[in-house]
Symmetry: C2
Subunit: 188 residues, 2 copies
Amino acid sequence: MENDHILLDRALELFSRRGYDAVGVQEIVESAGLTKPTLYHYFGSKRGLLEALLKRESGHLLTAIVEAALYQGDLVLTLERVVRAYFSVAKQHSTFYRMQLGMYFSPPESETYHAVWPFAREQREILEGVFIHAAEDHGNLRGRHTRYAVGFLGQINAVIGLYLNNEISLDDLRVYELVHQFMHGIYS
Amino acid sequence: MENDHILLDRALELFSRRGYDAVGVQEIVESAGLTKPTLYHYFGSKRGLLEALLKRESGHLLTAIVEAALYQGDLVLTLERVVRAYFSVAKQHSTFYRMQLGMYFSPPESETYHAVWPFAREQREILEGVFIHAAEDHGNLRGRHTRYAVGFLGQINAVIGLYLNNEISLDDLRVYELVHQFMHGIYS
DNA sequence: ATAATACTATACCGTTCGGTATAGTATGTC
DNA sequence: GACATACTATACCGAACGGTATAGTATTAT
């Protein structure tokens, strides 16, 4: 295994558990069994390490939801695929998901917020695309794509937040519940 | 104005903009026109300052939603009051709301997460109480109070997140939309 | 007048921060 | 054999970190 990959793995583990600011460069290289010049050779700075990490790990999530978000006439089916994609990444890459979720809500002038913002926007645009397409079939959705995308993502992340705190599991029933509630409310 | 209040105000401003870890004690006291021994006299440690800050500011939010969450037979009405309470605090204390939202999603071994956790749990319990009470009138809600509380809070925070990024405003229409969608889904 | 209490400034503690200058050691090319 | 390239360790940089010992200055109670 290459040393740059080892560094990224260790940084991901430490950042997701304790946060970017609370983890020093020294600790990362020690945990990787290397020294600082190696890290600075590959990434140039601590910020560069963070950006390389986000770039590598976001790939999983973005490709998964791009594929899932292909709208082909059935909104429920599409949303279920999207939720399943999110759940799948949250389960297989839970440390990364925890990290990017925390960074999305980090303060607006922090390094982490600026670093994660492009990837967060991309996620939202993909979801907005679903609702924009669906509005061609369901006129009453028109003009509310941002609202829906944000609200839907908010619910997904609320559920994944519970999963990351070991309060629930992420299974097919949970997918159905989430989408059904989003589409039809809580009574039915 | 007392010096301890000045310190809390400056800490709130700085933490909410750049994050707890990224702001040093020195910067806080300089911004307050004071020196470090004053801060350590009142709060004992940086962590103590954070906890005092959360305690002071959470009061606004908790009293507001406790009052709003009184269920008296009309779930829609109660939820609208709750959303209005959240929106009101988010508008009047936007720096605090941003801070506590970020801390709720901060890494699980960070100081900020541990400090904010008791207040987050209290919020959720209040909301769960609404759905537990409502289930006495609407049997099909029974046993899903956690799910609903978390999902509802997720949607509220998603919308407030948009507001904090200056993408939307928080008005009565937005309250209606949020509750209506939660209750009846997106089609109606 | 005196003593106790509450508060605040100066100056400092040891440690850690992100980052780097220097000196290597491999590996492959010509 | 000479040389460039890629990578990594030792040892260090100045600055900032959270926190404190000491010495005060007001205010209050006795």
